[in-house]
């Protein structure tokens, strides 16, 4: 099957007829530099007098930290200074706790009193050479008293002793319970019910560039400068200022190239704080810390694992009446992000289906594993997995076609805006159309015939579906800032609070500005983040699928304000009526007479010179900063919606503004696989994605997101898993044990669109940064079960990744049972 990479599959309604630069598959402007090797990743930066940091990490999952003796390290020639947890505790505050607000965090950037996971930072050394720093940490003497590791999340929830944090008196740090609709009644009136336990492993999108930071402290200005590959600039500014007890105007955060982030780089508190503390002890010399891969796998953060018990009530015609979901989430050894994987599920609990009766009972527990961090979609992959597996189980029980059962339960296309049971409001969508198009592309009916035919010849192919909603941007609460300036020569530079991390911000922002100001987008400079110059808010950053929301909105707002000013000045100079002015090719025309124009450079010069020459009421200068979002976004939630995602948000907005997404993109995935019954080997024969991300600013970038996302999801479904043994040792700390998809595993992916423009976006777009990574977990599990269905019996995939061993076991068990009967 060929991979349809050409852009001939872009439907006309994905662009607005009036767009000139938006909607075009422009090659990215940032690429030339990256292709030449002229990069500005943290480790590339040319900063003189660098010193190097190495971090000593705990070999134990759980142990008392009795003594840390730095003296040996300090004797190593070339070592400048060293610190341990006691120093950190004396001069810094605890790491911000994002989610569970009721407990008092005890975690510092270096361990104190206890170590709580393998790889936890215990001490740090600075030396004149990176190898010397590595040598020196071996000379640090640490006395540990090992404790029993808390690893089994299910046991941890109810344990009455052996706590990850003794003062909490429990490992179950979070509990959400909700009853929506009438669940008892749904179960009473059901024809049938079924119950199943499924789970999602701990995984990470593992950005190829690990965490990296350079810190420099100027003794005279008392200013701390940080070059860091952090995604969430705003959180870093707010959180680090708290931790270090420094005012934000003395912290300068510079974010240049980021080698992928996927959420894992949103809040690198420990490397940031450790490097900052060390930089204050080196007489003004900058220090650099570059995490290595093993450290990244052990300590940078990963998803929360989840065990899910689902019980579903349904009618014999396939209509799902309601379900109960009981979850246990394993968030590792930190409060930093604990609880967020759980609470995010409330935002998408019914998926793309009109299911109103739901009971949700969700525990968050701590264990002696690596702390959870956001990772592409956070709780969304799990939620999609739960709902898309549940509906499959029902179809299997009823022997109903999986496409048909979805059609019978979909939220109808005419029911938007749709208020979900949990109080979120979906903006727009057409789920039946998504599925229809996806089935057309795979030629579903023919494929089913072929499947039956092949089975006769001992070949087993399976077809798996996933049809779901994702969410993008946490509505009006997440606000962003951008400043756009037309300088005195008419050149344009933009500066946003959210950094580019391979996400195409530079090109996309340029396309939007070019559209408003009538210039060639390539002529625009989009500068990197620098907190001294870039506008930023507590939410600033590249995360939560939010570029499509506030980032785009503020870019439009600032560009429109500038346009109005340019038009006013231009009309004045041309002695024309402002409504007759048009902007194109860097010129300002009077409609209908192309000879009557001024260049943008001329307008700019006028605006920066004698104010008397400017029209009434127009201030000199052409600079606009916009901070905010669109008022359209506030339609995204009901006022009585509950279950906040992350209490840190409340620090800024106050309680009572629950998370719901600004836009709700949606997808239909169809996986076609072949299972080798002898070996358990799985081959993906075809993978089709039809998605709805509303209108599209740059189809090339959108397709790149679709493909990259889908391969993340395929990796999670088939390969990736962090494995801990019972002592809490991480068995998968390199890419030899933690398997990623390579060019040999990825299937060709056909992607296509359905477009329902979002009424909450000024230009009808929806988010595209996360969605396709959610579907493959369920589509592939569903496909494998479909492939082995002829063996009969209730043989199900209960855990991911779906390895050949698991398939093999399943096939053997099914065959054994069949031989017995």
């Amino acid at each position: 099957m060929s991979n349809k990479l050409e852009h001939n599959n872009i439907p006309l309604d994905s662009v607005s007829a009036s767009w000139k630069w938006m909607g075009k598959p422009l090659k990215r402007f940032e690429d030339r530099r990256l292709l030449l090797g002229d990069t500005a990743f943290v480790d590339d930066l040319d900063i003189p007098d660098l010193l190097y940091v190495a971090i000593l990490r705990s070999p134990y999952a759980h142990a008392k930290l009795l003594k840390v003796d730095l003296s040996g390290a300090l004797k190593v020639p070339g070592v400048v200074t060293a610190i341990d947890g006691d120093t950190a505790k004396a001069v810094t505050k605890t790491i911000p706790s994002y989610a569970v607000a009721t407990l008092k965090p005890e975690e510092y950037c270096l361990a104190t009193k206890k170590v709580r996971y393998v790889g936890e930072a215990v001490a740090a050394v600075v030396a004149t050479d990176p190898a010397v720093a590595e040598d020196a940490i071996e000379e640090i003497k640490v006395q540990y008293e090992p404790l029993l590791a808390v690893i089994d999340a299910e046991k941890a929830v109810n344990s009455k002793s052996n706590f990850v944090y003794d003062s909490f008196g429990t490992n179950a740090v979070g509990h959400n319970h909700a009853l929506w609709g009438n669940v008892d009644e749904a179960f009473r009136s059901a024809d049938q019910t079924l119950k199943e336990r499924i789970s999602v492993q701990r995984f990470s999108s593992t950005p190829l560039e690990p965490l990296a930071v350079i810190a420099k402290f100027d003794r005279f200005t008392q200013e701390l400068t940080l070059w860091c590959n952090a995604q969430m600039t705003g959180h870093v500014m707010m959180g680090l200022s708290e931790m270090l007890g420094m005012p934000t105007n003395k912290i300068r955060l510079i974010v240049q190239d980021i080698g992928g982030g996927f959420g894992i780089k949103t809040r690198p508190w420990r490397p940031l704080a450790i490097a900052s503390l060390l930089a204050m002890r080196t007489n003004g010399k900058p220090v650099k810390y570059i995490e290595d891969r093993r450290e990244h796998m052990m300590a940078a953060g990963m998803t929360a694992g989840g065990i899910f018990d689902v019980e579903v009530a349904f009618k014999n015609d396939g209509k799902i009446l309601g379900f109960r979901l009981h979850e246990i989430n394993n968030d590792g050894a930190s409060l930093q992000y604990a609880g967020t994987y759980s609470s995010m599920r409330a935002t998408l609990i019914n998926g793309s289906y009109d299911i109103r009766n739901i009971e949700w009972d969700s525990y968050t527990t701590l264990t002696n594993e690596c702390p959870s961090m956001p990772n592409r979609g956070v709780g969304k992959p799990g939620m999609v997995y739960i709902v898309e597996r549940m509906i499959e189980f029902v179809a299997q029980r009823l022997k109903m076609d999986p496409a048909e059962i979805r059609r019978r339960n979909f939220i109808p296309a005419n029911k938007f805006p749709y208020a979900t049971p949990s109080g979120r409001v979906y903006d727009s969508g057409n789920y039946p159309a998504l599925l229809r198009k996806a089935l057309e592309i795979v030629e579903y009916d023919k494929l089913r015939e072929k499947q039956a035919e092949l089975r006769k010849n001992g070949k087993y192919i399976g077809i798996g579906l996933a049809t779901y909603v994702h969410g993008a941007s946490a509505h009006s609460r997440e606000i962003e800032g951008i400043s756009i300036k037309i300088d005195a020569k008419g050149n344009i530079v933009a500066n946003s609070g959210s950094p580019d991390m391979g996400t195409g911000h530079t090109t996309t922002i340029s396309q939007i500005i070019a559209e408003e100001l009538g210039v060639n987008p390539e002529s625009i400079t989009v500068d990197h983040f620098d907190s001294n110059f870039s506008p930023w808010t507590p939410y600033s950053g590249t995360h939560a699928n939010k570029f499509s929301g506030p980032d785009v909105e503020v870019t439009l707002q600032a560009a429109k304000k500038l346009r109005a000013k340019v038009v006013a000045i231009g009309a004045n100079l041309l002695e024309a009526n402002p409504i007759d002015i048009e902007l194109e090719d860097g010129k300002i025309f009077v409609k209908g007479s192309r000879e009557r124009y001024k260049t943008l450079a001329e307008i700019a010069r006028a605006s920066y010179q004698n104010p008397k020459l400017l029209p009434e009421g127009v201030e000199p200068g052409l600079e606009e900063t916009a901070i905010g979002n669109t008022p359209l976004a506030t339609g995204a939630f009901m006022t009585d919606a509950k279950y906040e995602v992350g209490s840190m948000h409340q620090l800024v907005t106050g309680p009572g503004s629950p998370t719901s997404f600004m836009t709700y993109p949606s997808s239909a995935h169809v996986a076609v696989v072949e299972v080798d019954m002898e070996t358990g080997e799985l081959k993906i024969l075809n993978y089709v994605i039809v998605h709805d991300c509303g209108r599209i600013i740059n189809p090339l970038i959108v397709q790149g997101q679709v493909q990259g996302n889908a391969v993340h999801g395929i990796g999670v479904a088939l390969l990736e898993q962090f494995v801990y043994d019972e002592d809490g040792q991480l068995l998968t700390s390199s890419f030899v044990d933690y398997l990623k998809p390579t060019t040999c595993e990825v299937p060709n992916i056909i992607d296509d669109h359905v477009v329902t423009p979002s009424p909450r976006s000024s230009i009808g777009i929806k988010g595209v940064g996360e969605g396709e990574s959610l579907g493959p977990l369920a589509s592939l599990a569903n496909a494998v079960e479909d492939a082995i269905a002829p063996l009969g019996g209730d043989f199900r995939i209960h855990s991911l990744p779906i390895t050949p061993e698991k398939i093999y076991e399943l096939v053997k068990r099914a065959q054994k049972q069949r031989n017995r009967t």
């Binding site: 990479l5 990256l34 390579t742």
Partner: protein, 160 residues
């Protein structure tokens, strides 16, 4: 630790610098010779971000000691373009949107160049097999595979 003088011909120019016996080639190229394009994604031979050509063959430069490379000829991404004009392979990556964050890109360019040097028109199968030692976390690889095919067409045109 004692340091050894290491001579290399890097992208056509003679270079020298000092390296400890344990210094990996990738760190020597980056820290001693100031090249930026070989990146470190794992330093354990798994990701290919550090791939360079050593005497024409692709090596993961985190798996070679600098002293082992003494006297050899090294090609990196910096050596691909001529006077600011992109190599057809770079152009093909650009047109195919074969990079997102760009951290893996220099490694993929070098590994791809090695494929094309060996076989001017490789099959998809060959491209996939020979790039499987390079990890990209962003793109999902499909556009990279497409870019190598496109590059082979572009280079054929240049030759004719």
């Amino acid at each position: 630790m004692t340091k050894h003088l290491v001579h290399l011909k890097v992208n056509g120019e003679l270079k020298e610098g000092y390296a400890e016996p344990r210094t990996l080639l990738v760190y020597f190229l980056r820290r001693e010779l100031g090249l930026r394009s070989p990146h470190v994604g794992c330093d354990t031979t798994s990701c290919g971000a550090c791939t360079v050509l050593m005497d024409g063959l692709p090596v993961k430069s985190c798996t070679v000691f600098a002293v082992q490379a003494d006297g050899s000829e090294i090609t990196t991404t910096e050596g691909l373009s001529k006077n600011g004009k992109l190599h057809p392979l770079q152009e093909a990556f650009w047109e195919s949107h074969a990079l997102q964050c760009g951290y893996c890109t220099p490694g993929f360019l070098m590994a791809s160049l090695a494929i094309l040097n060996r076989n001017a028109s490789p099959t998809e199968e060959e491209i996939r097999r020979n790039l499987s030692g390079n990890l990209c976390m962003c793109t999902g690889y499909l556009n990279i595979i497409k870019a190598v095919k496109l590059a082979s067409e572009k280079m054929a045109k240049v030759r004719n």
